[in-house]
């Protein structure tokens, strides 16, 4: 390699290595290019986020102004309310957080960051999206079939989910299970691709500890997903049989046990938290090192920490079941493992702070999102300590305290982490720079209302407000004015936050239309994706000039160098 790094691709690389698939608009529907598939996942996920957000709007309006018609929806019936909260949870986790953070950014970043031209199995990658797309149609169809959408909460505990004489949604609940099951199959196909690609297709010279952390995180997340989802897939088959042909896996009358589902669900459900958390944490590491111009503190410790987190995450699931009648001795064990898992996560937070310490920090939009992630997730993590301890959890279980805690973990992951990644890689994905001023407006108008929504809900939860209640005015001790005022504050904040998202869409549209092209490496970052054009051509680099790696991705401000960054592919 004698050429300088910036010459790895050249203007007409696209023509030399044309897409051999179908042409025209079909190219985007039937493409095997990892970048196109990433965009398919991204836009499907964003579309579903709008639906999930609309659901939140409807049920929050019902809670703040019970019984009043909701603009754009009408009067909310109790059944509809339950279907809305159920599908809000299902969609936001399985059709927003997973496809965007794991599938979209995994697909986009893995080949680009390890210096490969595509995934190792492009056709399986395409199949993965197609199965996901079918699952999207199934879950949307489940909302409009006769009887309405499934309304038994996103955790789908039997017997409510298993018996249509209880849930009254014979079609909706079965379609819900089928949709979720198909979605799992899609991510298994994608995950096998991610893992194999990282293991085998790294650029020459890229050793295990030269891989950017976000790629490590996405692949470890894929392994966690693969190892945890199997039992739930088996459980889903049993649930479908219980629903449709009348077996009794979850029915004590025929020798079954409803608690079995809770075990299978949470054996998956808790690692699932880390499946989406790890990619977001990886994204933030990339952003923090770039905008602090500083080497990542303790690269190897991060790797060992996430492996420890991954292993521990398989031994905490029963903390969701402290009041499900499990043996108190078992509850003790799960309390200990749950409190233990906060150690590696706290360690990661300290690594962020140590990386920022003494750096020359630029507060760009992606950096603001990245820092907000650390701050907000910390609140989610600390409130989790209360819920992990069986004694406190028995009081807090199924209150709004749990709900607020959960949103303080998942909102930073799925929304803040996604916006951080999206604004950071937007120049690479679309070849244009985003407007910083609009980006900062969008940031503050999302972050402040977010806290205004969920801080009151913590207080309500400590005051004993139970979840899954359609109308609190039916409960005298919960219908007091101060509580109702807090519900209204939360709802109004939600309206502001939802309205602020139009700034984001306007910013995307405006930036996409702007004539000014983004440079290859607008942030002066080290990893390989910044060495190719923005957006990268099919094949990412010219086939004869694939990058070669000489060092790790976080060599910022190396003493004795003129530039404050040192691209991974630049020879010594």
């Amino acid at each position: 390699m004698v050429e300088p790094a910036v010459d790895l691709t050249h203007g007409h690389a696209h023509d030399d290595h044309a897409d051999h698939g179908p042409q025209g608009w079909l190219k985007y529907l039937w493409s095997t290019d990892h970048k196109v598939i990433a965009m398919q996942y991204m836009f499907t996920g964003m579309f579903m986020a709008l639906i999930g957000g609309f659901m939140a709007y409807v049920f929050r309006m019902q809670l703040a102004f019970p019984g009043m018609p909701v603009p754009g929806f009408g009067i909310v019936s109790p059944g509809e309310y339950n279907a809305l909260v159920t599908n809000h949870g299902t969609i936001m986790i399985f059709w927003v957080a997973m496809p965007v953070l794991l599938a979209a950014f995994g697909n986009f970043l893995i080949p680009l960051m390890i210096g490969a031209d595509d995934m190792v199995f492009p056709k399986i990658n395409r199949l993965s999206f197609q199965v996901f797309f079918v699952s999207t149609i199934v879950i949307l169809a489940s909302l409009v079939v006769e009887g309405g959408g499934f309304a038994g909460a996103w955790t789908a505990y039997p017997p409510l989910s298993a018996d249509s004489t209880y849930n009254l949604t014979p079609l909706g609940s079965t379609l819900w299970v089928i949709g979720v099951g198909l979605e799992f199959v899609a991510f298994l196909l994608g995950g096998i691709n991610f893992i194999t690609t990282l293991m085998n297709s790294r650029a020459p010279g890229m050793r295990a500890f030269d891989i950017p952390i976000v790629v490590w995180m996405i692949v470890v997340a894929s392994i966690l997903f693969m190892m945890s989802v199997g039992p739930l897939l088996a459980g889903a088959i049993m649930l479908i049989f219980d629903q449709t042909i009348g077996t009794g896996f979850y029915n004590p009358a025929t020798g079954g046990d409803p608690i079995l589902w809770q075990h299978l669900f949470w054996f998956f459900g808790h690692p699932e938290v880390y499946v989406v958390l790890l990619p977001a944490m990886g994204v933030v590491i990339e952003i923090i090192t770039t905008f602090a111009r500083k080497k990542l503190f303790a690269y190897r410790t991060v790797i060992f920490t996430i492996v420890a987190t991954g292993v521990l995450s398989f031994f905490v699931w029963a903390h969701h079941q402290f009041i499900a009648g499990i043996d108190p001795r078992m509850a003790n064990i799960f309390t200990i493992t749950t409190l233990l898992i906060s150690v590696p996560i706290a360690e990661l937070c300290f690594i962020y702070i140590a990386t920022l310490y003494g750096g020359s920090i630029t507060l760009s939009t992606p950096m603001l999102w990245g820092l907000a992630f650390v701050a907000e997730f910390l609140i989610g993590g600390v409130t989790g300590i209360f819920l992990g301890a069986a004694g406190a959890d028995i009081y807090f279980h199924d209150t709004y305290f749990v709900l607020a805690h959960f949103h303080y973990t998942f909102f930073p992951i799925a929304i803040i982490g996604t916006f951080a990644a999206f604004t950071y890689w937007f120049p690479k994905m679309f070849g244009k720079m985003m407007d910083e001023r609009l980006g900062k407006w969008h940031f503050w108008l999302t972050i402040i209302p977010f806290n205004m929504i969920f801080i009151p809900l913590f207080v309500l939860g400590m005051g004993g407000q139970h979840r899954r209640i359609y109308n609190y005015t039916h409960f005298p001790e919960l219908a007091i004015d101060i509580f109702q005022d807090m519900r209204i504050v939360a709802t109004v904040s939600l309206l502001i936050m939802l309205a602020a998202q139009f700034i984001f869409f306007y910013n995307c549209w405006k930036s996409w239309r702007s004539k000014e092209k983004a440079p290859r490496n607008p942030w002066k970052a080290n990893s390989l994706e910044w060495t190719t054009e923005s957006p990268p051509p099919h094949g990412n680099w010219h086939p004869d000039r694939m990058p070669v790696v000489y060092r790790g991705p976080y060599e910022y401000n190396v003493p004795g160098r003129e530039d404050d960054y040192w691209p991974q592919n630049e020879p010594k």
């Binding site: 051999h20 080949p111 490969a116 031209d117 595509d118 995934m119 190792v120 199995f121 492009p122 298994l188 995950g191 096998i192 691709n193 893992i195 194999t196 690609t197 293991m199 085998n200 297709s201 790294r202 890229m206 693969m226 190892m227 945890s228 989802v229 199997g230 039992p231 739930l232 897939l233 088996a234 459980g235 088959i237 049993m238 049989f241 042909i245 009348g246 077996t247 009794g248 896996f249 025929t254 020798g255 079954g256 046990d257 079995l260 299978l264 054996f267 094949g539 086939p543 694939m546």
Partner: protein, 189 residues
């Protein structure tokens, strides 16, 4: 055209083989979850032994033998493919597919016999697990046999010979799942 990524092998193991092992890893936990649930329930329900007594251990043993033999021919196919003898590999693969068909035929007879005697999937917990676990396994046998037919067709023309080994690995997995199912569903009375 294959991407450059597919041709790389940083681990030293071919990409296809690596992927098959990860597929199997994801399958192990699916069957693992199902069988662990079954074992936990079985320990709590000694009366399920009465239902298990209905299953025919000798037919199950015969099917175990059929499946093990089909794995042997899959290994012989791999050996032939290593020599570059695609035609012989295809012949052995067809033997394996024949084994799969015999297995499924015997299974059909068993299920017909049991259902016609009133032991259906809704009878009780044991039968629910019996039909679900064996059904999921049979689904894997069918899928494996179909894929194997495609691999054999290509191998006969001398193409994609490395796939003979990959489908063989998968077939051994299907075999091993049955090695767990047979004692759990037939022998443990």
């Amino acid at each position: 055209m294959r991407p450059i990524a597919t041709t790389r092998a940083a681990t030293g193991t071919a990409t296809g083989k690596l992927a098959v092992w990860w597929v199997l890893a994801s399958e192990v936990v699916i069957f693992g979850g199902l069988l662990a649930s079954y074992v936990m329930f079985r320990l709590g329900h000694p009366e399920w032994a009465d239902a298990a007594a209905v299953t025919n251990t000798w037919i199950g043993a015969f099917n175990t033998w059929v499946l093990l033999t089909s794995s042997l021919t899959a290994v012989l196919a791999h050996q032939a493919a290593e020599r570059g003898d695609g035609k012989q590999a295809a012949k052995y693969l067809y033997c394996t597919i024949f084994g799969a068909l015999v297995f499924l035929g015997v299974k059909t007879y068993e299920w017909w016999y049991e259902i016609s005697h009133g032991y259906t999937i809704t009878s009780n917990g044991f039968w629910a697990f019996y039909y679900t676990a064996a059904g999921l396994h049979a689904f894997h046998v069918i899928a494996g046999a179909v894929i194997m037919a495609f691999v054999a067709r290509d191998a006969a023309k001398g193409r994609e010979l490395h796939r003979v080994e990959l489908i063989g690995i998968y077939w051994h997995f299907v075999d091993i799942v049955w090695i767990f199912l047979f004692p759990l569903l037939y022998i443990a009375k």
